[in-house]
C-alpha cells in the first residue's frame, strides 16, 4: 500500500493506493493520525484503492470520529468493490462519499 499525503492549508488529502487490510490498516492509521491535528478537512482519495477489509473500515471509522470533532471527512473516487463493502456494512450512512 502506498499513501500520498497532500497538505493544503488546513485541508489534508490522502490518496491510498493498493489494499487496505489487516496488514496495511495500521500504517494508514498511524500515518494519518500523525498529521491530522488541526485539520478542518480530511479527504481520502480511493481512486487507486483495490479493496478494503474490516481493518480498513476501523481506521476510517476512527478517522471519522476525530473529524466529526474538528471538521469534516470526505471520501472520493470510491470503486465498486469498496462501495459494496461500505453498503454492506452500513458505512455509507456514516461516511461522506463524493
Amino acid at each position: 500500500m502506498e499513501i500520498k499525503k497532500t497538505l493544503n492549508g488546513n485541508e489534508l488529502l490522502v490518496a491510498v493506493e493498493g489494499r487496505l487490510d489487516t496488514t496495511t490498516a495500521p500504517q494508514l492509521e498511524e500515518n494519518v493520525r500523525s498529521s491530522i491535528d488541526g485539520m478542518k478537512s480530511l479527504v481520502f482519495d480511493f481512486e487507486k484503492l483495490e479493496y478494503i477489509s474490516s481493518a480498513g473500515l476501523r481506521v476510517l471509522l476512527a478517522m471519522q470520529k476525530i473529524m466529526n470533532k474538528q471538521g469534516s471527512m470526505t471520501i472520493r473516487n470510491v470503486n465498486e468493490t469498496v462501495m459494496e463493502v461500505f453498503e454492506v456494512t452500513g458505512f455509507v450512512d456514516i461516511l461522506t462519499i463524493e
Binding site: 474490516s54 481493518a55 468493490t81 456494512t89 450512512d93
Partner: protein
C-alpha cells in the same frame, strides 16, 4: 431276337442320358465349360444324341412296312433334358440319318418327325418349362403326341395309296407310341433319380400350379369329349359300314341274279320260239304233236291258249279249258293278247296247283293266241346249271369279298375257291340257320369273320360274303384319323391354354405377388400396376387402396406409439439425474453421466446422490434386453437400489438386498449388471461392489486410464441368495473414474468391428484437462465416428467422476504469512480466470478469516484449500485452534452512527454478506470454515 432289339431300343435313350448327366456334372465341377463353353457343351451333347438317334434307326425293327425305333425319343430327351441346342442338333442329325436310310416309303414322314421332335423339345423346354427339366408326365405326353404326329405325317406323305399306308399306320402306331413314350419316360425317370428330384416331387404333390390345374381339368374335359365323340363316331361309322356293305352285297347279288335270270330267260325263250315255229308249221293242233314237241325239246309242258285266254290244247290233260285269267300266275300271260309278243316268267309256284314250281315262257302265235312252254324244276336245273357254274368265280365284292352260288340242294355251284360240287355248309363253314333272304348276317366263312347276305333266284342261292375287316376298314380309318387329329388338337389346345393362362393370369399374378411380397416386407410405397384386363385392374386398384388405407392406419398408430414412447422416454429420463452441474455447490468433485438409448426407451441407467455431505453414491447398470420391457425393469431396479442405499451404506449389502428384491416375481427372467460405489470425500476411498458389470477405468493423478478389474459377482436378479463382495479403491484429488455399459465397447461399425476396450482406453488417455462432461462428450464423439452409418444396437451409457484437485496451503498463522496466503489464493484464482472483482472479494474474506484465526483461535496450523469448479470458487479454512463457530456471532448493528459503532464482528459479518455460502464444522480437531462464491 426282335424282343431283345426292342428292349435295346427302349433303353438306349436312358443309357445315353445317364452317361451325359454324369458327364455334365463332371464338366460343371471342372469349370472347363463355363460361360460360352456351355453352348459348346450342349452342342456336343446334341451330337451324341444325334448319334444315338442314328444308331436307333440302325437297330430299328421292321413291322408292317414301317421301322419301329426310339429315334424320336432320343431327340426329344436331348431337347427336354439337356436344353434347346442339344435338341435341335440331335433332331437334325437323327432326321437326316433317317432320310438317308430311305428304304421304306415312311422315310420322309419319319425324318420330318425327328427334326420336328428336336424343334418341339427345344421350344417347349425354352418357352413352356422356363428352361427347366419337365416332369415325367409331360415328357411322356410329348413323346406320345409326337408319335401321333409321326403317324399322321406318314399317312399324309403317302396319300397315293391310302389303304396301304393306313394298314401300315394301324400296325405300327401302337408299338411306336409305346416304345418312344416308354423310352422318354425311362430317361426322365433316370435323370429324376440321379438328380434327387424324384423324392422332392412326392412332397410337392399337393400344391398344383395354376396352369397345371387348368390343364388337368382341360385334359379331363377333352378326354370326356374324346370318349363321347369316339363312341358316337364308332356307332355311326359302324352303322354306315353295315349299310354300305348291305347295299354293296345287295347290288352284287342282284347282279348275279340278273345274270342267272337272263340266262334262263334266254334259254326258255329260245326253246319257246322254236316250239312256236313247229306249232305254226303243224297247222292243226293235236295233243300228240305237242307231246312230240315236248319230247323233242325236252320241256315239261306245252299249252296253246286261244284269243280268249282259254287253254285249248296242252300236253297236260288237266289243263284243257283252263281260263288263264283265273290264276294269279297265269293271268300275267294275258298281256300277250294285247300286243306283247313274248313273256318269260320267273321260276315260281303255279296258279293251278299249289306246291308245284315251274318256269313259263310264252310267244304269240300268228293265227292268234299264244303258245306257253314250261320247265319243271329238274328240267330247269339241268338247263341252267352249266350256265351258272363258275359264274361268280371271278367276281369280287369290294377288295376281298366274294360271291358263292349254291343250288337248292345246298351244293356249291360257283365258288372262287374252286369247291364246286361240294356241300355249301361243310366247305365254307356257313351255318344252316342263316336268316332270311336279303338279310345281313354275321358268319364265319372260310375261317374269316364276314358279313353274309343271300338272294334266291331260279332255285339258286346267291351268297355275297364280305370279310369284316373290309367292312370296318373305312370305319377304322376314320376312327384312327379322328383320334390322331383329336390328340393333336388336344395337344395344341393344351399348349394354347397353358400359354394363355401363363400370359394372362399366371404372369400377372406373379407380378402382383412380387409387389405384395415387397409390401409385406415393409415397403408400403410399392403400388401394384397390372392393367392387362379388367379383373386385374380392379384387383390392382383394390390392393393399392388397401395398402393406402393400411399406410394411413400404420402412420396413425406409429404416431400414437411415438407419442407414448416419447412420454415414456421423458419419464425415464426424468428419473435419471440429468441436471448438470448436479451439485453446483460442490467444487471437490465433478460428475457427469449420459445415456443414449438405441430405441426410444432404454435398459441402461445410472444414478448418483449424496448420502450426506461427505459421501457420494454412484452407479451404472445395464438391464438385459432393450426397449419397453428393459425400461420398466430398469425403473424397478433403480428404485430398489435407491431405497436400499437410503438405509444402508455398505455397497455390498445394498446390492445383496437389491438382488433379493429383484429376484422376487421376476417372471420375465430379466437381469441387471451393476457397478456401484460410494466415495467418502474425507478419506477419498471408494467402496464398491460389482454385479457382473464391465470394469471401470480409473486414472490416478498424472497417470493413465487403466481398467480397474476385480472379480465381479453374479448379475442382479439372476439368482436368489447371491452375496456381493465389498471392494475398495483409494483415490486422490485429481483422480478420475469412468464407468460405462457394454453399449460403448460393443458399438459396431458397418464392417462389423467392435469399438472395444482398447479403443476406449486409448480415447480416454487422449483426453487431457477435460471436465466430466467434456470427457463423456468426447468418448461419445469418438464412438460415433467409429460407428459411422451403422445403426446403434444397444443403449450407450457413461458416467465420469472427477475428484477435483484442491490447491492447498498450510501455514503457521502468523502475520507475516498473510502475504503468502493472499498470493497463493490470488494466483490460483487468476489461473482459473476468475474475475478481478470476485478475486478482491475473496481476498477480503481471506484477510478477515485469517486475521480471526491468527488473532483469536490459538491455532498452531492453518490450512487453506482453494478450488474453482463450475464457476464457483471455494475456499476452506482449517485450523487446529479452539472450536469456534464464527457463524454464531451476533451480527453488528450497522444502522448506528459512527460514534456508537462497535468495531468488532464486522469482518465475519462482511464475509457472510459477500459470500454465497459459508459453512462451519468442527471435525477431527479442526475448525473447518468453508466459503463459496459463484461468478459469472
Amino acid at each position: 431276337m426282335v424282343y431283345v432289339q426292342l428292349i435295346l431300343l427302349t433303353l438306349l435313350p436312358s443309357v445315353v442320358t445317364c452317361l451325359l448327366y454324369w458327364c455334365n456334372k463332371w464338366c460343371s465341377r471342372s469349370s472347363f465349360f463355363a460361360g460360352k463353353g456351355k453352348i459348346v457343351k450342349k452342342i456336343i451333347f446334341g451330337l451324341v444324341f444325334g448319334w444315338a438317334a442314328v444308331a436307333s434307326t440302325k437297330l430299328s425293327v421292321p413291322l408292317g412296312g414301317a421301322l419301329v425305333s426310339a429315334r424320336d425319343a432320343c431327340v426329344l430327351t436331348a431337347g427336354l433334358v439337356f436344353g434347346a441346342p442339344s435338341g435341335l442338333v440331335a433332331g437334325f442329325i437323327g432326321g437326316v440319318g433317317r432320310f438317308l436310310k430311305g428304304d421304306t416309303y415312311t422315310s420322309l414322314g419319319a425324318s420330318l418327325t425327328t427334326i420336328l421332335a428336336g424343334m418341339v423339345g427345344a421350344a417347349l423346354r425354352k418357352w413352356m418349362f422356363d428352361d427347366k427339366r419337365p416332369s415325367l408326365f409331360y415328357g411322356t405326353a410329348i413323346a406320345f403326341v409326337l408319335e401321333v404326329v409321326n403317324m399322321l405325317l406318314v399317312f399324309l406323305t403317302n396319300m397315293q395309296n391310302v389303304r396301304e399306308s393306313f394298314l401300315l399306320v394301324e400296325s405300327a402306331a401302337l408299338p411306336m407310341i409305346a416304345i418312344n413314350g416308354l423310352a422318354v419316360l425311362l430317361s426322365m425317370l433316370a435323370v429324376s433319380i440321379l438328380s434327387g428330384d424324384f423324392r422332392h416331387n412326392e412332397r410337392r404333390k399337393d400344391r398344383l400350379r395354376l396352369a397345371e390345374a387348368f390343364s388337368r381339368w382341360l385334359l379331363c374335359c377333352v378326354v370326356l369329349a374324346f370318349v363321347v365323340s369316339f363312341l358316337f363316331i364308332y356307332g355311326l361309322e359302324t352303322r354306315l359300314a353295315y349299310s354300305d356293305a348291305e347295299s354293296m352285297l345287295t347290288l352284287y347279288i342282284e347282279d348275279v341274279r340278273d345274270d342267272i335270270n337272263d340266262a334262263s330267260d334266254e334259254n326258255l325263250l329260245a326253246l319257246t320260239r322254236a316250239i312256236r315255229e313247229e306249232v305254226e308249221d303243224l297247222g292243226s293242233l293235236n295233243r300228240a304233236a305237242l307231246v312230240e314237241l315236248l319230247k323233242k325239246y325236252d320241256v315239261s309242258e306245252i299249252s296253246i291258249i286261244d284269243e280268249n285266254g282259254i287253254i285249248v290244247e296242252s300236253t297236260t290233260l288237266i289243263y284243257y279249258g283252263f281260263d288263264m285269267a283265273s290264276g294269279e300266275q297265269s293271268k300275267e300271260f294275258l298281256v300277250l293278247l294285247d300286243g306283247t309278243n313274248e313273256l318269260v316268267q320267273r321260276y315260281q309256284t303255279v296258279s293251278h296247283k299249289a306246291g308245284v314250281a315251274m318256269k313259263y315262257a310264252a310267244v304269240t302265235l300268228s293265227q292268234g293266241g299264244f303258245v306257253q312252254v314250261g320247265y319243271n324244276s329238274q328240267r330247269f336245273q339241268r338247263d341252267i346249271d352249266e350256265r351258272v357254274e363258275g359264274l361268280t368265280r371271278n367276281r369280287h365284292v369290294g377288295e376281298d369279298g366274294f360271291m358263292l352260288i349254291a343250288n337248292n340242294n345246298f351244293n356249291l355251284v360257283s365258288d372262287p375257291n374252286d369247291h364246286e360240287g361240294e356241300s355249301l355248309y361243310a366247305t365254307t363253314g356257313l351255318k344252316t340257320e342263316v336268316g332270311g333272304e336279303w338279310q345281313l348276317t354275321r358268319e364265319v366263312v372260310y375261317g374269316e369273320d364276314s358279313l353274309v347276305m343271300y338272294g334266291v333266284t331260279e332255285g339258286y342261292y346267291i351268297i355275297g360274303v364280305m370279310p369284316m375287316r373290309e367292312v370296318v376298314f373305312g370305319r377304322d380309318m376314320s376312327l384312327y384319323t379322328t383320334v390322331f387329329i383329336m390328340i393333336m388338337v388336344f395337344a395344341f389346345l393344351f399348349l394354347l391354354i397353358y400359354f394363355l393362362v401363363k400370359k394372362l393370369v399366371v404372369e400377372n399374378i406373379q407380378k402382383i405377388n412380387s409387389s405384395l411380397e415387397e409390401i409385406t416386407g415393409g415397403n408400403l410405397n410399392v403400388s401394384v400396376d397390372v392393367r392387362t384386363n379388367k379383373e386385374f385392374v380392379s384387383l390392382s386398384d383394390d390392393i393399392n387402396s388397401t395398402v393406402q388405407t393400411l399406410k394411413g392406419y400404420i402412420k396413425e398408430a406409429a404416431a400414437r406409439i411415438d407419442k407414448e414412447l416419447e412420454f415414456a422416454r421423458t419419464i425415464q429420463l426424468s428419473t435419471l439425474p440429468s441436471v448438470f452441474p448436479a451439485f453446483p455447490d460442490r467444487t471437490d468433485f465433478d460428475i457427469f453421466a449420459t445415456m443414449d438409448t438405441a430405441k426410444e426407451v432404454g435398459g441402461d441407467f445410472y444414478d448418483f446422490y449424496l448420502l450426506d455431505d461427505n459421501r457420494l453414491a454412484f452407479l451404472i447398470a445395464d438391464v438385459s434386453g432393450k426397449g419397453i420391457s428393459a425400461a420398466m425393469f430398469m425403473m424397478k431396479a433403480k428404485t430398489i437400489i435407491k431405497s436400499h442405499a437410503d438405509n444402508e451404506s455398505d455397497v455390498a449389502l445394498i446390492l445383496t438386498r437389491a438382488n433379493r428384491d429383484l429376484c422376487e416375481n421376476n417372471e420375465a427372467e430379466m437381469f441387471v449388471t451393476c457397478w456401484m460405489g460410494i466415495l467418502d470425500f474425507r478419506t477419498n476411498i471408494v467402496t464398491f461392489a460389482n454385479a457382473g458389470h464391465n470394469p471401470p477405468l480409473v486414472r490416478h493423478k498424472d497417470g493413465r486410464f487403466e481398467f480397474f478389474k476385480t472379480r465381479p459377482g453374479f448379475v442382479l436378479a439372476g439368482m436368489e441368495g447371491m452375496k456381493y463382495r465389498l471392494g475398495e479403491l483409494s483415490l486422490m484429488p485429481g483422480d478420475e473414474i469412468f464407468l460405462y455399459t457394454d453399449g460403448v465397447t460393443e458399438a459396431t461399425n458397418s464392417r462389423n468391428e467392435l469399438y472395444g476396450d482398447e479403443r476406449l482406453e486409448k480415447c480416454l488417455n487422449g483426453l487431457v484437462g477435460m471436465n466430466a462432461k467434456e470427457i463423456c462428450r468426447a468418448v461419445k464423439k469418438d464412438v460415433d465416428e467409429f460407428v459411422g452409418e451403422a445403426p446403434q444396437f444397444d443403449d450407450m451409457t457413461m458416467l465420469s467422476l472427477l475428484l477435483m484437485e484442491k490447491d492447498c496451503i498450510s501455514l503457521d498463522p502468523k502475520e507475516e504469512n498473510m502475504e503468502t496466503l493472499l498470493g497463493f489464493v490470488e494466483e490460483r484464482l487468476e489461473a482459473s480466470d476468475v474475475p478481478v472483482k470476485t478475486i478482491r472479494k475473496m481476498s477480503i474474506a481471506v484477510d478477515e478469516i485469517y486475521s480471526n484465526i491468527r488473532l483469536y483461535s490459538g491455532a498452531t496450523t492453518a490450512k487453506v484449500e482453494c478450488s474453482v469448479l463450475n464457476s464457483t470458487v471455494q475456499l476452506v479454512f482449517m485450523d487446529n485452534g479452539r472450536p469456534y463457530n464464527p457463524l454464531e456471532t451476533k451480527d453488528p448493528d450497522i444502522t448506528l452512527s459512527a460514534e456508537e459503532r462497535e468495531i468488532g464482528g464486522l469482518g465475519i459479518f462482511m464475509v457472510k454478506k459477500t459470500m454465497d455460502q459459508v459453512t462451519y464444522e468442527y471435525m477431527d480437531g479442526y475448525n473447518r470454515l468453508s466459503l463459496r462464491k459463484s461468478f459469472d
